[in-house]
Amino acid sequence: MDALNTVSYVFIGIGLFFNFIGAFGLHRFPDMYTRLHAATKCTTFGSIFLIMAVIVQSAGIWAIEGTLSQSVMCIHSVLALVALMVTNATGAHAIARAAHRSGEKPARAVVDDLESKAND
């Protein structure tokens, strides 16, 4: 039980660190694309670790005590994790494409290959 708690605390620590980095990155970067970098990557990674902590805890209690409600919690957390991973990357791609087509320019960009291409 102690080992289980330690693993959960470590996962929560990593997850909270990356979530804070993502939240501060929104204020630290100059334009929308770089903010999208910080927001998508860091919060996805941090949320994965936070949910992993819940999975480890509930799976451990399920294995030790054999309560059925913990199994529900474990499996639904895994499904939430998969949904989060798939939808976040796709949503970020949709936002970036929409922003570029609506005329948002990347700040301080060295080269922009997409600008020369006509919008279809």
Binding site: H37, K41, F45, A96, V110, E115
Partner: protein, 170 residues
Amino acid sequence: MRFLITTVVAYLVYLLLTIGSGTVFLWSTAELIIGAVFAVVVGALLRNRFIGKDLRMLNPRRWFTFLVYLFPFFFAMAKANIDVAYRVITGRINPAIVKINPKLKNDLSLTILANSITLTPGTLSVDVDQKTNELYVHWINIDPKVLKDMPRDYHPICDSFPDWARRIAE
């Protein structure tokens, strides 16, 4: 065939969501029957949407390759996050949008590659040219070597991910 696959997948998802509800193994009888009815309805409605023309993704070797792919992908993802954390703290960025041609042929492999690019070091897929299958990638800290020649080299951006995507989905 497509109807059968869609029904089975829908039923499995329903069973996963209602686990631990009763006494027949882990499910109650009512849940099993309702799940079967809804799975047949979903399969009848969405059989043309869920799976395309060819059935090559049924090959279990592709799924095994996908599971193996998750390990290098996870390491690249951890590296990406440490990199972004470093850039958040120091504020040292040098962004650009570059065009790459990963030479993939179908939509599924391109989707896998675009999602991998979004979650891995310093890059974010912005747009896709559906006629020539070229990707436009926003790169947070550009490597000056890539800017010299016009058909860009994709190895600094996404080192071996196109090969993995080709092995999984083509």
